[in-house]
């Protein structure tokens, strides 16, 4: 009989389950993994170096393209760092809008995660269901910023503009019947807030629907229970944050523990897991969607009752309004200076972190007093998670690699930067 030896297997970089461009070099003993060596950097764009070469505001768009399924959360981390250095507090309405969109983004991200994680381990239907709800949230992005994904909506000092009073509607076309059109537009008659509210009323039943498909599903449990168990001590030592850390039973959420924006005024709970396996992390994320929905409801209510400015009145930071520029010399000068040179940020260094859907997204910003950052370090949650890939998959079967990648919620935009 032939002697069976360990062999090396190459996984990716082009593989549908690799969630982007990940090359994994696996050492296998039969079907069992002995070690895994992730090769990353195939999507490295040098974002940090590019940011150093541009005025502060021109880099907000780069942040969207880091973790490209939780766009505005990245922007939030970046503008928060600048605001801390400038010692600037945006108007309260802007903070509520930021929280509203952070939570919309959290649901967007978790739906993407749930759909692809399900698809990876064989639940095709999840993917379709999740993308159905994502579509509505993408429309919210579009209504407020004009783009469905890369919003560039947050600015140091507030947000770009207030929420729109009307929601874009589906237009009539030859292939659409009148009845279909009414069905598509039924919740688009009012403002964006009305649209979001109708979503929040519908969404909990959607989550129930996902849970009936997965939570007690025998196959789903076989694929996730007791897979990649991480103890709380290991999770801390490996630098886990977000649902990965909470799945291991550590109660840590920046929204509660180090609140930013207006999270201290809102009511929500932090779900935690018990066993630290893939199934617990699934439960944590699903519950987070329900909590986010709850937060969105509170934000919608507050935003309805409290109109007001959404941008700071500091004209050295915020651009002047278009009409003011027509007959006000000072506004014209501010406009010219802001768009040719930008603003200078006082010398110093700051670390600002937000609870992005994947974990702690941090920006370490060093300014030497110039109109461009001296150094920006982006602390991406997925980077620390993927670093522990080998530890998570050792001793598991080849098929579990895909489950682990799903549970880590990997996006290469932020890992490779």
């Amino acid at each position: 009989m032939a002697e069976i030896q360990n062999y090396t297997m190459n996984f990716g970089p082009q593989h549908p389950a690799a969630h982007g461009v990940l090359r994994l070099v696996l050492e296998m003993n039969g079907e069992v993994i002995q070690s895994a060596d992730p090769h990353i950097g195939l999507l490295h764009r040098g974002t940090e170096k590019l940011v150093e070469s541009k005025p502060y505001n021109q880099s907000i768009g780069y942040m969207d393209r880091l973790d490209y399924v939780s766009m505005v959360c990245n922007e939030h981390g970046y503008v928060l760092a600048i605001e801390k250095l400038l010692n600037l507090t945006p108007p309260k309405r802007a903070l509520y809008i930021r929280v509203l969109f952070d939570e919309i983004t959290r649901i967007l991200n978790h739906l993407m995660w749930l759909g692809t994680h399900g698809l990876d381990v064989g639940a095709m239907t999840m993917f379709l269901y999740c993308f159905r709800e994502r579509e509505d949230l993408m429309d919210c992005y579009e209504a407020v910023s004009g783009t469905r994904m890369h919003a560039t909506y947050y600015r140091p000092g507030g947000v770009y503009r207030d929420l729109p009073d009307t929601m874009p509607k589906y237009e009539s076309a030859n292939n659409k019947k009148k009845k279909d059109l009414e069905r598509l537009n039924y919740n688009r008659e009012g403002s964006l807030l009305d649209f979001i509210e109708s979503f929040t009323e519908r969404f909990p039943s959607c989550v129930d629907e996902y849970e009936t498909l997965l939570t007690d599903n025998r196959i789903w449990k076989q694929r996730t229970v007791n897979i990649a168990v991480i103890s709380p001590e290991r999770a801390l030592n490996l630098g886990y944050t977000g649902p990965m850390l909470r799945g291991s039973g550590v109660e840590w959420d920046l929204r509660k523990k180090q609140p930013y924006a207006v999270y201290n005024e809102l009511d929500f709970d932090i779900p935690i897991g018990l066993n630290g396996d893939c199934y617990d992390r699934y439960l944590v994320r699903v519950e987070e969607m329900r909590q986010s929905n709850h937060i969105i409801k509170q934000c919608v209510e507050w935003l309805r009752d409290n109109p007001g400015p959404v941008m700071t009145d500091d004209s050295k930071i915020a651009p002047p309004d278009r009409m003011g520029m027509k007959d006000d010399m000072e506004s014209l000068i501010h406009h010219f200076k802001l768009f040719t040179e930008g603003y200078c940020v006082p010398e110093g260094e700051v670390y600002a972190a937000v609870e992005a859907p994947k974990g702690e997204f941090g920006i370490y910003l060093v300014s030497d007093g110039a109109n461009k950052p001296y150094r920006v370090k982006i602390r991406a949650p997925g980077f620390a998670h993927l670093a522990s890939m080998s530890e998570m998959v050792v001793g598991h079967m080849l098929a579990d690699v895909v489950a682990v990648m799903g549970t880590q919620d990997i996006v290469f935009g932020e890992i490779d930067r």
């Binding site: 040098g46 170096k49 801390k84 490996l238 630098g239 200078c344 700051v350 670390y351 370490y364 007093g369």
Partner: protein, 233 residues
Amino acid sequence: MRITHEEMSARIDSCFKAKMLRVDSQCNELTYELDQENLIEISEQLHNHADFCFTQLIDLCGIDYLTYGKDEWITQSATDSGFSRGVSRKPVILDDADTFDDRRFAVIYHLLSVEHNIRLRLRVYTGLNNPPILPSVDSIWNSANWFEREAFDLFGILFEGHPDLRRILTDYGFIGHPFRKDFPLSGNVEVRYDADQEKVVYQPVSIEPRTLVPRVIRDDNRYSDDLKDSTDG
């Protein structure tokens, strides 16, 4: 249990005394500088001691202070020569000397104590060594593994005792350390498909470096400390 910055600062001072030097921070953050000889000893204490409990290394990154505080805005000659961007772009010549300025490279550690709900930033300068080298903290915080590989890849900082110090973000066979300030933004080589050889080949970059917005540093009196005191009333 959340403890205040003052309390943590007092604990650090009483435990490490002169080994850790508090640096002023504008944004109410704790920043300390320390010597690389003490790095491992202090890190172990910060990680293990019940007073500190910094169980998480949230982030580790390199930084190159080569052009810190330098702008590229020359208005005098730009005015003489008509319209231009007024940018002085003297290429930074690669320094072949044996030693670096001792404050050129630093490694920044961001620690988090989940127990005490407090953050701490450490800065360690690499000193005169070329290549810069620091002891690795991978054995204390395992999350340092990839962060140190990244700092090595992008800044060329070596970490003594690291189990597997390879490049991580750049291409296989990449030359140079791209986040150093003397590395051009456009890089040194570009790739294209060569139809004759029927493969992708490397060649020197063909694009010229261009500055759209010059880097300027302006004194803003609103942030000056003397003025702040006088206008408070």
